[in-house]
Amino acid sequence: MIQTTGSLDPTGLLVAEHILEQRLCGSVSYCEESASTNSDALGDLRKQAISNDQLPRLYLADRQTSGRGRQGNSWLSGADSLTFSLTIDFDSVREPSAKLLSLAAGVATARAIEFEFAPVKTMLKWPNDVYLSGGKLAGILIETSQAFSDRLVIGIGMNVNDSPTLDSYEVGAKPNSLYAVTGRRSTRYSLLEPIVASLVKTVDQLRQSPSIILGEFRQRCFLTGKQIRFNQLGQDCQGYCRGIADDGELMIQTSQGLRLCDSGAIRMVRVQ
């Protein structure tokens, strides 16, 4: 079942239809322009229950005008970027592996890119930014509500053939695009199906074998073994990143001892 709004990119439409045929998703909502596909997905969940047979439900927009990141940060899409959200059946409180879901979303995206653009190697900046050649290629925002705790929305924005021009960016987080690194142009929608398939498979694998996901994240971890700076409760701190703990937390050796950090506890993590 596909719901469409506006005049759509024919390639996007073909890919969306193929995703349904392959039963990777149970339904698709595709529009020409959206403020934020995550907001669309959450809006639908607030209005009505999305039944299991409609899941995973893909929200696609040819143009995203107000993409969101963490706590009001903007996700600036270049003209040729891929932005979509996927509503899945996942309880962020009760699933035993819930704390690793963010990492798994990053691993899923990294796997798909590496397969499609072999032999490139991506890095993952904890908890789930996807990096390529030292630049940020993709951002992931996961949202849910205790009003519908068995549903969760994973939003992904990826720079395919170009990257947004920013007035300023945090050191170490300059944007990058697949084209800039690989020299291969691709239609943005050629990546959609591999990433959706990878997400579905990786979330399933997270439930079965979380240690595999954790191991793959650790192999690609951008911060491990580096001196990093970060902001904790408003204070600038620094330390040595010892790696990722089994529950997904970041292990930082500081002069005060070893700290285990949840993503909300530390901000502006950057390599020195």
Partner: protein, 167 residues
């Protein structure tokens, strides 16, 4: 006799809705009778996340201890602190994470003290490992106190808002 009903620890988030059994008036009546019969001054009841405290607030009971204890120099009000919150309920964190009182640093808080909320009112976001979780009030009433600061860490079950369901 003074009976305080307080479920200040109740988890109003998913899975912690007030249980009929705990609030069953006949059951409470029986317990109060038993308290009187056995001269018990306080009974705590807990079922799941729900908790009720029954106090028989006897002011200087006639059967006071034979050795008179000097009252403390700084007399505290007779009412224990829980009394201030009698009849209120709290909305508790459903998980360990970081509390956000507003959607973005620039936006207005989801709720303010004095604001009425209903079951569906979003009161905050709790982030756990970059999963942002909207928390609905899941109760009706007026916000009397916000117990956590924006961007502060919260533990599982940490009371975040105090709600007066009768105001």
């Amino acid at each position: 006799m003074n009976v305080n009903l307080s479920d200040g620890e109740s988890n109003m988030s998913k899975g912690g809705k007030p249980s009929q059994n705990v609030f069953d008036i006949e059951r409470l009546r029986t317990i109060i009778e038993l308290m009187e019969e056995h001269e018990l001054s306080e009974v705590d009841l807990q079922q799941g996340d729900e908790k009720i405290k029954l106090n028989r607030g006897a002011p200087a009971a006639s059967y006071a201890a034979p050795t008179p204890a000097a009252p403390p120099a700084t007399a505290t009000p007779a009412a224990p602190p829980e009394d201030m919150h009698a009849g209120t309920i709290t909305i508790n964190a459903p998980m360990v994470g970081t509390f956000y009182s507003k959607a973005t640093p620039e936006s207005e808080p989801f709720v303010k003290v004095g604001q009425r909320v209903n079951q569906d009112t979003i009161v905050c976001i709790v982030e756990a490992m970059k999963v942002f979780n909207e928390i609905p009030a899941e109760c009706s009433g007026t916000v009397v106190e916000i117990l956590v600061n924006d961007q502060q860490p919260v533990d599982f079950g940490k009371p975040m808002f105090r709600i007066d369901p009768n105001a």
